[in-house]
């Protein structure tokens, strides 16, 4: 199982029944493949739809039915569409139960950076700043390290996405929960020891008692 699949399958266990969830582009999108069967989740795409499904068969695409990346999707029975102001009223107004976002860095205070690398890459924040400011739960789904460097850092060196701390960070090595005292190591990935997680993490982690191994959705 590769790193991304471990992350997606662990994040999927954070999905709650009858909830509204927004998945960011990239790795977070994979979470939709692992929704536990007993759970009913409505997925929102911030370009203006709740209740979308997998891409339609070739030849059945609708040019007016796309996800936030511009890719073709389908609308499940009961789906609804709306404009951008309404879409972000849902997001900012506390109506979105959970968002799953990719990340470049998370720091010891739980702050996320995910929208630019000064001088190198300026994709823009898109909806990320609104999502972090407004979603009830913000789950970061990202690899623990990039090019051998920990993405869990003592203090952000990249521009933050929000002052608000995220709810949970799920990586291929660990599950971390930001608290007032710092990042708590909640779980470790299958076959990974606490010592390995600590060695791979630039930020200090709080370890309380036995750290269980992650469960993964099917």
């Amino acid at each position: 199982m590769d790193a991304k699949e471990i992350i997606a399958r662990r994040v999927a266990l954070e999905l709650r029944d009858r909830s509204l969830v927004n998945l960011g582009i990239g790795l977070p999108t994979l979470v939709a493949r692992h929704v536990p069967p007993e759970i009913n989740v409505a997925f929102q795409s911030e370009n203006g739809i709740i209740g979308f499904g997998a891409p339609p068969p070739e030849g059945m695409e609708d040019p007016n039915l796309t996800d936030a990346g511009g890719g073709y999707i389908s609308a499940l029975p009961g789906a609804v569409s709306f404009d951008s102001a309404f879409s972000f009223a849902l997001i900012r107004g506390g109506h979105l139960d959970m968002t799953v976002l990719g990340g470049l860095q998370v720091d010891a205070r739980g702050r996320l950076a995910n929208w630019m690398v000064p001088g190198k890459l300026v994709p823009g924040m898109g909806g990320a700043m609104d999502l972090v400011a407004g979603a009830r739960r913000v789950v970061v789904a990202m690899q623990h390290a990039a090019r051998g460097e920990s993405k869990i850092v003592p203090e952000l060196t990249l521009p933050p996405t929000s002052a608000r701390p995220v709810t949970l960070v799920v990586t291929d090595l660990a599950v971390l929960a930001p608290t007032a005292d710092g990042l708590v190591l909640r779980e470790r990935a299958p076959g990974i020891s606490v010592a390995q997680v600590l060695a791979a993490t630039a930020a200090p982690l709080i370890v309380e008692g036995e750290v269980p191994e992650m469960q993964l959705a099917a």
Binding site: N47, G48, N64, D83, S87, V122, P123, D130, P160
Partner: protein
């Protein structure tokens, strides 16, 4: 109330060089492409374009960027268009990044006669730099100012000859929002139907807001 549809070329003539232009579309979906192509064909210059993103090269307003029609882009995301990034780095294009939900609400405020928006989005980030932070009911909000423009260019599903508009699915996005926020509104529908065919409850943008209709595709 009746109006004759105009050609896309005529629409492009109504958008002078240097104009500020609100555009509908999300990754090019819901962008009025016949107007965009006519702007490119007439060699428009110095436009300030305001909308969600600059799509991809060859897609949506990406065509305006490539053709050198744009002096400034006020958008939430440019990460999918390397041409935007190159022109920005080369100093040929100014880019102002605005969080997506904030952009929608600033335009809505502009169109609704409001003096701005108080949003938690952007607190603790570069977005809030130089802006007033106002405490309301014990929470901090950033004061974001309204946006209006010279022209709005809309993509719609159906129009009637009164200018009443409907939208479809995720091609809706910013289109209904921008219809209120410009001094001149030009709509490009996929179909034009006789007055009375669209049920009143299905109209999303009243024709009273629409100054010009672009004729249906031939």
């Amino acid at each position: 109330m009746h109006r004759r549809a105009i050609t896309a070329a005529r629409a492009a003539e109504l958008i002078p060089d240097g104009a500020s232009v609100l555009f509908g579309g999300f990754m090019g979906v819901g962008t009025p492409m016949r107007i965009v192509d006519a702007l490119v064909a007439r060699g428009a210059r110095g436009l300030t374009i305001i909308g969600n993103d600059t799509a991809r090269p060859g897609i949506g307003v990406g065509r305006l960027i490539e053709a050198g029609c744009v002096a400034k882009a006020i958008v939430s995301h440019i990460g999918t268009n390397p041409v935007t990034q190159q022109k920005m780095m080369a100093g040929q294009l100014a880019v102002e990044l605005v969080p997506q939900g904030t952009l929608a609400e600033r335009i809505r405020a502009g169109g609704a006669g409001l003096g701005g928006v108080l949003t938690p989005t952007g607190l603790g980030t570069v977005v809030a730099e130089g802006k007033r932070v106002i405490e309301v009911q014990g929470r901090d909000f950033v004061l974001e100012e309204p946006i209006t423009a010279d022209v709005a260019i809309l993509h719609a599903h159906e129009a009637d000859y009164n200018g009443n508009l409907t939208y479809r699915l995720t091609a809706t996005n910013f289109n209904p929002v921008i219809a209120l926020a410009a001094r001149s509104v030009i709509a490009e529908p996929e179909e034009i139907v006789p007055v009375g065919v669209i049920p009143p409850d299905h109209v999303r943008t009243p024709g009273i807001l629409v100054d010009h209709l672009v004729e249906r595709p031939r």
